[in-house]
Symmetry: C2
Subunit: 234 residues, 2 copies
DNA sequence: TAATTATTTTTGTGATCACATTTTGAAAAT
DNA sequence: ATTTTCAAAATGTGATCACAAAAATAATTA
C-alpha cells in the first residue's frame, strides 16, 4: 500500500493543487496507508499526482505543522515512528480534548444534527459488518467531527484532527496484524445523552468510546505490534 | 507596527529560508505586532525579508495550519479577527491543555529545570518592572514552555503554541489600549509545587495563572477593546 | 571478500517566469 | 455627487530551472 492507495478523491474545481495534495496525503495518513518510517519524496508525490514540486511542498509543510509528518535533519520527510510512550500521550490527550469538545458542543446541538449523527452511526455499523475497516474508521471520525462542530467557534477541531493524524499510522499497523479491528460503539449512548442535553453523560460516553476503543490497547500489545511492524521500540 | 516590527532575529546558518520566515512571522504574530484584519501579501513579505515568494508561501501555509492565519475565499491571507466567543473558547482550551501538560511534566521534572524556571521567572519580573511588555510576554511563554517540555514526549506543546498564536493578536490590541498589561505571577507557586512533585498543586497554580491572567478579561472589557480596535463585534 | 573512495544520481531548496484572478484607480455615465 | 465601466497594477498559483547537499551506485583498494 503506497501513497496512491486511496482512489484519487474527487477534486472540486476551484480547489488549488496544494490543497488537493494536502487532502489526499492527509487522508492517506489518517487511515494508516503510509507506513511509519517510509520516507516521502517531494518529486515522487508530485509525479504520482501529476503536478509539480511547489504545491506538494506546501502540502507537506502543512502536514508537518499538523504533526502528521516529521522533518528530519537530513531534510527528509517521513511519517513519525510510533512508540508506546507517544501512543499513551496521544490517547490521553485525545480523551481530554474530545471530552471538552463534546461538552462545548452540547449547548449548540440541534435535533437535526443529532439525527445526522444517528445516520452516520448506522452507516458505520454497516461498514463494520462488511469488515470494511477503512470506511468504518472514516465514518467514526465523521461522527465525532459532526458532534464537535456543532459548536460554531472552532478552535478545538483542528487539534483533534491533529491527534487523529498522529494515531493514523498506528491504526494502519494494527489493521495489518490484527486482521479485524475491534470497534467499540458508545455512539448510541452519546446520542441519547445529547437528546437530553446532558453534558456530563455526553462527555462520559465519549470518554468510554475512546478508552474502550483505541485506548483499549494495552502497553504490551502495543509494543508487540510495533515490534512486529519492524519498529524498534528503543 | 508592521511585519518588521521585531529586529530581524538571528539566523543560524543551515536554517532554511522558509524556516526563517516562519519563525519571524510567528514571533511577530505571537506578541501581537500584526493587527487582525491586516492582510499579508506574499510578495510584500518576501521583499521585506529579502527573499522570494516560494519560501514565504511555505511559511504562510504552516502558520495557517497552526491557526495563526486564515486563508480567505479570495485566497487572501490575514490574521483572524478576534471575537468574544472565540476568545472564551481559546482561554478555556488553554487552561485545559496547560493543566494537562503541567501534570504530565511533573514526573519528568528535574531540580535543574526547576532552577531554570526560577531564573526565567526572575527575568520576567524584571521585564515587568521595566514595563517591557513584549519581553515579559516572551519570558512568560518561555516559563510555560520550559515546564511542559520536561515531558520528553511532546504532543501537547505544539497545540499550546497554537493557542498562544491565536491569542497573540488580541494581546497586541490590549497592549495598545490598556497601556500597561497586568501580569499575574503564580509562577512562584508553581515552582514550589514542583519541588514537592505535587501534580495537583502544579495544575492549580497553572490554572490560576491563566484564569487570573489573560482569563481575567471580562466579556464586556473584551468587547469594548475589540470595538476600540475597530473590530466589528458582529 | 570487505571496506573505502570516487562517481553518478537523486533530492530538497529557492528564485524566476507565465498565467489567471482579483483589486485598485481612473474615466465615463447617470 | 454618485454610480458604473474599463484599463492598469497587484496578487496568488504553479511549473521550471539551477544549485548544493545527500544518497545510491560503481570502482578501487586493503
Amino acid at each position: 500500500m503506497g501513497i496512491l492507495a486511496l482512489e484519487p478523491l474527487d477534486r472540486p474545481d476551484g480547489m488549488t493543487t496544494h490543497e488537493y495534495a494536502h487532502r489526499r496525503l492527509r487522508q492517506a495518513i489518517m487511515v494508516g496507508s503510509i507506513r511509519p518510517g517510509e520516507s516521502l519524496t517531494i518529486r515522487g508525490i508530485a509525479e504520482a499526482m501529476e503536478s509539480s514540486p511547489t504545491p506538494v511542498r506546501e502540502a507537506l509543510r502543512r502536514l508537518s505543522s499538523e504533526g502528521a509528518l516529521r522533518v528530519l535533519d537530513n531534510r527528509r520527510i517521513m511519517v513519525p515512528r510510533m512508540t508506546a510512550d507517544r501512543f499513551s500521550e496521544l490517547v490521553s490527550l485525545r480523551s481530554l480534548l474530545e471530552q471538552h469538545a463534546a461538552r462545548r458542543a452540547v449547548p449548540h446541538i440541534t435535533e437535526r444534527r443529532i439525527d445526522r449523527l444517528a445516520e452516520i452511526d448506522k452507516a458505520q455499523d454497516e461498514a463494520i459488518g462488511r469488515k470494511d475497516n477503512a470506511t468504518a474508521l472514516l465514518l467514526n471520525q465523521e461522527f465525532h467531527r459532526t458532534l464537535y462542530t456543532a459548536n460554531p467557534e472552532q478552535v478545538i477541531m483542528p487539534m483533534v484532527e491533529s491527534i487523529w493524524l498522529q494515531l493514523g499510522p498506528f491504526l494502519g499497523i494494527a489493521m495489518e496484524h490484527v486482521a479485524q479491528l475491534y470497534f467499540v460503539d458508545r455512539h448510541v449512548e452519546a446520542i441519547e445523552a445529547l437528546r437530553k442535553r446532558d453534558e456530563d453523560a455526553v462527555a462520559a460516553a465519549i470518554k468510554a468510546d475512546i478508552s474502550e476503543g483505541i485506548g483499549g490497547f494495552e502497553r504490551a500489545a502495543i509494543e508487540n505490534l510495533l515490534r512486529l511492524a519492524g519498529q524498534s521500540v528503543a
